[in-house]
Amino acid sequence: MNPSCGKGSMLTSSRKSSEVVLDQFPAGLRVLVVDDDPTCLKIVEKMLRTCHYEVTTCNRAESALASLQANRNGFDIVISDVHMPDMDGFKLLELIGLEMDLPVIMMSADDGKQVVMKGVTHGACDYLIKPIRIEELKNIWQHVVRKRKNEWKELEQSVSIEDGGDKMQKQSEDVDYSSSANEVGNWKSSKRRKDDEDELEDKDDTSTLKKPRVVWSVELHQQFVAAVNQLGIDKAVPKKILELMNVPGLTRENVASHLQKYRLYLRRLSGVPQHQGGINASFIGTQDATFSPISSLTGLDLRALAVAGQLPEQSLSTLHAASFARPSPKSGQPVPMVDQRNIFSFNNSKFKTGEGQLRQPNLGNSNQMNLLHGIPTTMEPKQLAELHQSFENMSNMQASVCQSNSLLMHRGSTRFPPNMGQPLVSNGLPGGLVLRNISAENGRGLGGYASPVSQTTSSAALTFPMNHGPELPGSNSFPTLGSPPGIPSLTQKGPSKEDIPVNSDAKGSSAGGIIPGYYLLNDLQQLQSNDWEVRNVGLAFNSPQNTSSLTGNLENPASSLFVQQGISSGSMRNSSSGGGSKVSYLVEGTHHQNLSSIVNSSVRIKSESVADTGCQNILYTQHFGQEDLMSVLLKQVSTFMTLKFFTNWCHLLLLLLLFEGA
């Protein structure tokens, strides 16, 4: 079933022949049809032939994949049935999309909305309902052209971004007029572009020979994913991925374009609405993350946060409303939580407008906070275990984690006077950046765990607005989870004390959320000096400050939390006892002993859950590279998210808030 495309024998096409080709367009489109129903297969084949397309048929998904792999550039478009005995059509769709990046059309006798939606979310460029009519097949060429066009744009963009583009752009302009000499057939114009992409890649590699287009096989893709995960999604730049993958013959451009596709893919996946449960679980996790040592947050939290971040709008808003409701009388600033994405912006506005206000409402909040913090405590250990499993598979988790973290942060932030005199963003960068900061700036405290989280989600919120300057080079490039930056003020302005306005230009959506919270804490900390000498979060303190304001409460723990992470020195003395035991962190140098029990409790909560994993990770992660830390932390955080905990926690939280407000 090999397509009869005569490759290579094409003369170098001149402009003239390309014109000829265009006239015949879209004839000669090379279509691969996969369907286990022989009747339908035959009919569709005949119809396609009538449209003057070149047709290859397969009745099994595996043979289709084999054909595609054997003939990398041999097809322009794939039409696949949804229900097949050996492989689900959607799975085939994903594989083809990732490996070969061809447009895929799904077809089925099933016209249910859900199935069609599934096709959309899995990236099908069209969905045909059987019986197929020839009119529907006549126009499938548009998908090929559209895709090529988009890819071309993408390539140009990525090239210009990564290479500074002039050279490439110039070359790309020549595409239309140069000869590809690669393909026979009538698809020269559009195909040539694609081929030229390869050529350009090759040229960029300064290879004189024309390399075959890179085949992103499943193994290669897995290597790629492993490398990306290791680096952290927001830190995963093509160069580093390439180094990690260590695949001979693979170019940075190959990796770059694949990375883009992967991010889009992840973003697409994460864009699917999350259920409440998942969010709940992650939410809880995030809460812990919020108050737990930063280190725990960074790696694992990011993921968890990502997961948690995808709190449903309603729940978030409810929570926010609840949490913020109370402070409003005190702070006078109700915090409207719009949706996850707006967490950061919310944060921003809150800080901007609510300066000083946050600080005030301490009294009521502490109780609440304590309670709130207390809630997850019980849940965490279990969550950890559960989360561990669910963690790996959830790219969404990252997003949600971030979001939930941000949510948490927001809540916390409402209580914190943003004008602690410190830039919110001062410390560390979200996500992966945070890690960097940790090591880089001891005193800064980490706010961002975004990057690790974003690792899996292409668009993970973790992309924090890395304004943190040079430290976070790559972070800005990552799309946030979905929306504009949740990390408002987190754009780091450095550990300076000046008020850093929280601007919602943070790109990291979910991650941003987390960071703001942390930064708030930092700010609250009133670190006159970035003296994050607080090594360990004093988990042990049972300060009676439970009643202190949240702000107060949060400050200390926050700072300690930050400090903990920020201090790359091994001062973390996690007396991590066996699972569940509190990690008693010594808080040194924190100033607000008010760090209420809320913080303590939160920290405690976190420590309990983190106990073994978290503490230990924290301990050793300090010594590891940021990437390692992040990944470890992410893993840990992910364990915190479980659906049920989250829901329970939310309910409890709401109740508490309402109760307090009553």
Binding site: P38, T39, C40, K42, I43, K46, A109, K130, P131
Partner: protein, 155 residues
């Protein structure tokens, strides 16, 4: 029988199949795909359909015969039958399949068995009709005539 008469008979017969709802516009699509380069196209496709359907119906029957009916499997068979029958325009079969799937969803075994019977009936019915149709076509072709194009008015 003279050619003209045969052709008319063929035409009337074909039309009657559409009128009865046995076939729908999709069959016309198939006929339009048939041309000089591929004169036996419709016949080939329909033969393919028959072969595939026999197998499918056998499996469906045995699946429904089980002590514990695996509805998921039954559903996939019916879904497949729905797809292939709709592809050749066997409208009545398709409709029964749709009904069948509803009952599968309800896990109503009695109704499912009834549907199975019904779908078999419809299948054999359309099969015999199509076989007659092809026979008539062959006669016309053998007599040197061409198969008249069906005018699609409204079914």
């Amino acid at each position: 029988m003279e050619l003209g008469l045969m052709q008319r008979r063929l035409e009337d017969y074909t039309k009657s199949l559409f009128m009865e709802g046995l076939l729908d516009a999709q069959f016309l699509q198939l006929q339009q795909l048939q041309d000089e380069s591929n004169p036996g196209f419709v016949g080939e496709v329909v033969s393919l359909f028959f072969d595939d359907s026999e197998k499918l119906l056998n499996e469906l029957t045995s699946a429904m015969d089980q002590q514990i009916v695996d509805f998921r499997k039954v559903d996939s068979y019916v879904h497949q039958f729905k797809g292939s029958s709709s592809s050749i325009g066997a409208q009545r079969i398709k409709n029964v399949c749709i009904l069948f799937r509803n009952y599968i969803e309800e896990q109503n075994i009695e109704a499912c068995l009834r549907c199975l019977q019904q779908v078999k009936q419809e299948y054999y019915h359309v099969k015999s009709k199509l076989e007659t149709l092809f026979r008539l076509e062959q006669q016309v072709l053998a007599a040197g005539g061409s198969i008249p194009a069906i005018e699609v008015t409204s079914f």
